[in-house]
Symmetry: C2
Subunit: 583 residues, 2 copies
Amino acid sequence: MHGHLEQIESPMDVRRLGLDELEELADEIRSALVTCVGTIGGHLASNLGFVEATIALHYVFNTPTDQLVFDVSHQCYAHKMLTGRAASYTDPSQYGVCSGFTNPDESEHDLFRAGHTSQGISLACGLAKARDLLGKHNNVVAVIGDGSLSGGEAFEGLDNAAVVGTNLIVVLNDNEMSIAPNSGGIYEHLAELRRTGGAAQENLFRAMGLDYRYVEDGNDVRALVRAFAQVKDIDHPVVVHIHTRKGKGCERAEQNPEATHFVAAASAIAPTTQTYQELTRAVLDNKMRRDPSVIVVNAGAPSGVGLTPEFRAACGNQFFDTGITEQHAVAFCAGMAKGGAKPVFMVMATFAQRAFDQFIQELGLNHSPVTVLVFGAGFYDIDATHAGTFDIVMTGNVPGLTCLAPATREEYVDMLEWSIDQRERPVVIRVPERMIEGGAGVFDPDHPGRWHVAQAGSRIAFLSIGATCELARSASELLSKKDGVHATLVEALNYSSFDEALLDELLERHEVVVTLEPGILCGGFGEKVARYYGKTSMRVMCYGGKKEFLDRVPTEEFFKIYHFTDEDIVADIEALELGTWHR
Amino acid sequence: MHGHLEQIESPMDVRRLGLDELEELADEIRSALVTCVGTIGGHLASNLGFVEATIALHYVFNTPTDQLVFDVSHQCYAHKMLTGRAASYTDPSQYGVCSGFTNPDESEHDLFRAGHTSQGISLACGLAKARDLLGKHNNVVAVIGDGSLSGGEAFEGLDNAAVVGTNLIVVLNDNEMSIAPNSGGIYEHLAELRRTGGAAQENLFRAMGLDYRYVEDGNDVRALVRAFAQVKDIDHPVVVHIHTRKGKGCERAEQNPEATHFVAAASAIAPTTQTYQELTRAVLDNKMRRDPSVIVVNAGAPSGVGLTPEFRAACGNQFFDTGITEQHAVAFCAGMAKGGAKPVFMVMATFAQRAFDQFIQELGLNHSPVTVLVFGAGFYDIDATHAGTFDIVMTGNVPGLTCLAPATREEYVDMLEWSIDQRERPVVIRVPERMIEGGAGVFDPDHPGRWHVAQAGSRIAFLSIGATCELARSASELLSKKDGVHATLVEALNYSSFDEALLDELLERHEVVVTLEPGILCGGFGEKVARYYGKTSMRVMCYGGKKEFLDRVPTEEFFKIYHFTDEDIVADIEALELGTWHR
């Protein structure tokens, strides 16, 4: 079956094939995709739809001289196969060697690491402008999906492409889907363009000063080769709108493109315990039934936060998908809060980074009573593009935000219910990475800045954020066993402010405070504690992540590197040689 | 002259006037604007152009029941005058009582604090959605300038307005200008709409699913009243595109709308010393002449960073204004860097917040050799919406960014020249708030992470960021005089990493490290130092800003509050009672 694919070491080999062979190549790639992704997981449906277009691009253009940028790069697997990395998809022993996103460390044909959406056209504008400044003459091609087009940065890119004014080819991969179904006024427009074969009366792209072409069958490699050949070496920016089928050639992906946009590895075990996603849905469902002003908002990425199609449908007009628009989503929530509604914005930590300014201006400065639920915060074995370790930096340092870090199920529920109904302030709740039962009555809604002493002791005090309370407890037990020290355990339920009374109290019977946070230390929680105690004799040891991008590093491995284990922590404490508890 | 204006205590009084009287009212407002802004400074040209529209809005709509949102609020002065705050513009003794931006603390007719652009439509979408959820029936009106339309968030807002689907009136105030001349493909489209009286073949807004109306003379109060009355209580979103004249009615503003977009107070003294803006232009000019791949990028706000019209013109194709698009601008620079060019992005600290995710992804993760010059960072007596105190949090905690804080003229020049030419890393340079001469040879390009010991001493070490080196020196002199201590002075030239060798060295002969940073302490530089020394006996005292929004607080006042004076610092050190140097 891999007759052509296994011959392809570089895109040059694609150009040696005949058009019939390109179609056979597409079948081979598709087959490898389904088998490989079915085994180890990955973006399935989005990649399946872009196989022919990838082949046609490499047939017509000459990378890396011609420059190809994949927006978000959810559609780059076929590209990887055609640029010397096919084995990572055809040889089970090499499955997963390549990352799921474009990565210049892997190949000169990958120009950028990309994993957040809507930036591809901007990057391509930069490549085009640099080419012009340096007097070069290559083609610059940006591939962007219709879903990514909802992000404002894509619009900024289109708007600026017209100003760059020279060769810049935007391939709009319109598979009629974002991760979930599209939401936004432009999607009706794209539908009209599809209905009219690109000849609709209005044309968004022409209105922005861009040339425009349409290819109805975006999975017809011959049609694509023709279309791309026509725009090759063009002297001005052009949008080539191709109509593709998400999940093409795989029945379950075609039938359910949302569920197969990203699929988990076959070996992944379904969690048997209740997850925070499920719990959140239950709490919100209950709230929404009683109060029609409660509304759940998501920015085009519902799966990571547990907003299933069924739940979204059940919410009716109390759910709003803004498209991939974190900036707008936060401001939209601020507007709703001002108007008397009770918005709950559910977002992945990594994507929330897009809304830093809106956290400051629209939430903090305006005291907007919005609830933000941050999922995926902390250390995970994922691609560096999706790191969820910057959220404490991003939210914990903004005036006016109340940032809560529940450690347990009940703490989370209490915080969420309180937050939705209060009308005074924006609240960010950092959803824990794993479910710990208990915590009833711990969160005090009258004092949302108060921390919780889970165990009163002396000499050593652990201050933990979220589920790191478990690590604190096991380190404390080890310390007790090894050194006879009965440590204090504090859950820092709020990481945007200090429980100063508690911190001052600790000064009395403690020599060392150990902070534990699932995020980078720089700009984080522990450093604030270190500053608080800076003038005193209290020693402060901060545990968390280094300022670095963890790239698909297994959890145990970076926990080891970061001394994020009870044994390491106890050894570090012992190394301080402060007192006489050592045996 | 203030015949009508002085009678107006609320918008209800506007509605009592006849149409002829509205025109007289416009004259009165305009006259007050010119006099008041001419005296105390403020946004002149943008407000002058929107006088008639403001009157017409308040004549037709019924705020605060009807809800009016001003995007960025550079055009809200007339609104303030008509909502009970006229005296702040007509009575010299009350000049400046009102802030220059909408502010709910001042009036129920101001819904949001706003000072960054392109968020107004999103906020209005939220108001409209909340209204619908709560079963209310008021109008929601968003006012947005054509300049703000370049920001992607505005596009996200328009795209979502179509989804909200109910009453939402977007007044597009098209004065053919951003702060500076517009840049972007949509501006040719707006020009076409103006040329055709709104009847151009393409229509961006209709393409996005919105209704559309056009008013050619946006300074004709009668035409505006008619147009607004027609859309009042409309049951779907509509864009009312009005063509206004920026600076209308004031000759110098009409002649030079960029220079008068914001004007300084008449009493402001022109700086006689060379400024960093001037110095930067000189360095860049020299670089660009020798190297055609050097390119200066700005995101629609050139005045704050010293990119004068003359300089921009002289740069030719080595200057690019991306419109008000910080996200795109950073990605655009990353693209240019990848393509071999040498981009220098000049941006105000407060606006850079929009690009936090791009700092992480496009710069840090991709190691893009881009130079970012951050102006306006630190403590200034400005509106809270424009606080420049979050930049160290935003850039100093991102992996892969090299963040430099020159203290002097020569350090700045050396860093800038090095940064532009190096090809390894993204560099952020925090432009100091005032010019200090000297520093030749201090910055070591081979070791950009190294700090500079300006004075070797013992017991107390000051670590200063940027121009706070002066405060460190004066505190050190006071300490010497009062307590006989000869302190060490360190310029922390790099706030993204530690000079660990130096920090370790300080442990030997020092008991206290004092950090000084012109930004908020939370998430900043001092906390990192406190963490570094957390396990040791070194005392660390951090000076900087509280986590709060300073709102037009005079510099001396918050320096006092933050103990940012030599006397306070020395008193704090003495209060530690560490040693025996006290007399």
